[in-house]
Amino acid sequence: MNFFSDIILMLDSSVRLAVPILLAALAGLYSERSGIVDIGLEGKMLGAAFAAAAVAAVTGSPWLGLLAAIAVSSFMAMIHAIASINMRGNQIISGVALNFLALGATVFVGHSWFKRGGSTPNLSTEARFSPIELPFAEQLGGIPIVGEIYEQLISGHNLIVYVAFLAVPVTAWVLFRTRFGLRLRAVGENPKALDTAGISVTRLRYQALIIGGILCGLAGAYLSTGQGASFSDNMTAGRGFIALAALIFAKWKPVPVLWTCLLFGVLSAAQIRLQGVEFPLIGEVPVQAIQALPYILTVILLAGFIGRSVAPKAVGQPYIKER
């Protein structure tokens, strides 16, 4: 019994750790399916995390914080759009620039605004997204296994967690069952075909990047006003790149993105738990080995040693409309 509740606890923290990666990976999915490389997930998330925490701290409302987060992240997505769609610049360089912009600007603005060396003040409970108890959670909690899973694992997360998990089927539906999704997949593979059919490549890519901006906004707000209670310097700590890895690992498909993000969530939850634990035969596994595992797995997958992950064909190439 004790072992079971241990597992539940660990899965619970895995879910919490998976959420920002999941949202960012879905953001990357829209963008890259449309043919725009998105190295800037990290930066957009970081900018959004700052905006959410700062606005929530000043106004006391997590909702205004969330709006600010989405605004900042979408604004950054638009810089990326102008550079890579209109100016036909290098999308990777633009993404790298966005990451540094967020890294520098959040601390620069935070430093002069709150005078706490780049962090924002701690948020009160009302200024954060608080846990939502699902109906009958307490009553059903008494039922062994099923009830416990319902009460402790499924119930009691904040709103953004549920939105993130809902975004997976919605994305799958949009991508594979709607006209927009068909066009989105097509524009990432063969933009010229769409252009010939009289559909605007520019417009589609802008739409994809805006959706990505909104999702990164949610991810950032989750970090600083859902999971945490303030913003601190570089608080995304590479999650945007893990999301990128998850996206590649899941071969740019929404449902596999969910499983990959949960797997990466379990790995980071395990890092904390496995410290100092002796395994039979291998002995103690260094924390750093588990830390590096998502990245190593992605490298191995990309190299085609286990399966193959092939990017949308037109990704990274600016589209030049013939005159």
Binding site: M87, F100, F108, I248, Q291, Y295, V299, L302, A311
Partner: protein
């Protein structure tokens, strides 16, 4: 297409990058004004902090030396059409080789430490960069993604090494310190004007590296092959150039150059290796390489500018407490954005300007 004259060469290689960098500084200035400080005074403080006195110069040149290495690393790969974002990880892993050899030879003489740690740093950096190179060349995995992943793997690997393997007992994840006899000489020992600045003998390795890259890229057969591959992979294939070999060699050279930063920073100044010693300087190399148009002269100037920004930025944060030194990171980001991703921003305006000067009629719009 439009019947417009192309821009003169000097506009293309000098004026446009200068305008892009100027725009980055204008935006930076607006940011300073936004937090209620005078941007012109900030500029004065920054320039004085970087160039106003000997010690400032010493710090500026010291930072610039590191940026020359990481900038050249990005540039060399870029000539082959490869974007190496892994300079950060390569410099980090190179630190391991450099410090191990330096600690091994530190009872002999600094010359042995310099030569030994330089070779070790280059080897370790090269190996760490060759793996992504090999994976790109042989297995087709994208070099950008692989080098990003390798930065994180390097970070985990190095924190394990520093915490468990070559750690100084009782210390929080750092190595032993290099003994007095093996320490690299500071330039202040010869030129007292540099006073307490960390500028050391590695500065001259930086100058050698600049010359080496110029000769390599523009004066050797290998360089010709590298540029052909970067300009047109198809043409390179028909010319009988092996893309696999070139990619692996270029990445090795790139990693070796990034690795030299370890000699300057870890062996030369900190005299030990600590967690995260690279401090993002590997990424500054990206900005330096784009601003310098992947040419050694441009890189030297860009590295000097960023060296001045890093040194002057600290002075600025001291004099104007409401301006954080992270302003430098913002300007760095804007330089990457404007000179790298939006490099042709001013082209339409300049084209119109130069064509008007020649009295040619403006063709009808699109």
């Amino acid at each position: 297409m439009r019947a417009q004259k192309p821009l003169p060469r000097w506009v293309d290689i000098a004026l446009m990058p200068a305008l892009n960098v100027a725009l980055a500084f204008v935006v930076g200035g607006l940011a300073v004004a936004a937090v209620g400080e005078d941007p012109f005074r900030a500029m004065q403080v920054l320039i004085f902090g970087a160039f106003g006195y000997g010690e400032g110069w010493g710090f500026t040149l010291h930072f610039a030396t590191s940026f020359v290495f990481t900038g050249l690393a990005v540039a060399v790969a870029y000539h082959a059409g490869l974007f190496n974002i892994g300079g950060e990880g390569q410099a980090y892993v190179a630190g391991l080789g450099a410090i191990m050899v330096a600690l091994w030879l530190d009872q002999t003489h600094w010359v042995f430490v310099l030569v030994g740690s330089t070779l070790a740093a280059m080897t370790f950096g090269a190996i760490w960069a060759m793996i992504p190179g090999y994976l790109q060349a042989k297995r087709g995995s994208h070099i950008v993604i692989t080098t990003i992943m390798f930065n994180f793997i390097a970070s985990a690997f190095m924190s394990y090494m520093l915490a468990q393997v070559i750690t100084r007992p009782g210390a929080n994840a750092e190595t032993e310190t290099i003994a007095e006899t093996g320490r690299l000489p500071l330039l202040s020992e010869y030129f007292s004007a540099f006073t307490y600045s960390p500028l050391n003998i590695t500065f001259f390795i930086g100058i050698l590296a600049l010359i080496f890259v110029y000769v390599l890229i523009w004066r050797t057969k290998l360089g010709y092959q590298i540029r052909t591959l970067g300009a047109n992979p198809e043409a390179a294939r028909y010319a009988g150039i092996s893309a696999v070999a070139i990619i692996i060699i270029v990445m090795a050279i790139s990693g070796a150059l990034a690795g030299l930063m370890a000699v300057n920073e870890a062996v030369g100044v900190q005299k030990r290796l600590g967690v995260g010693y690279v401090q993002g300087f590997g990424f500054v190399g990206i900005a330096v390489a784009f601003m310098g148009r992947a040419h050694p002269i441009g890189i030297a100037l860009a590295a000097l500018l960023f060296g001045a920004l890093y040194q002057g930025g600290q002075e600025l944060a001291f004099v104007m407490p409401s301006v954080s030194s992270d302003l430098v990171v913002v300007i760095q980001a804007l330089v990457i954005l404007f000179t790298g991703a939006m490099s042709e921003m001013f082209k339409p305006v300049l084209l119109r300007l130069f064509n008007r000067g020649n009295g040619e009629p403006e063709p009808a719009g699109d």
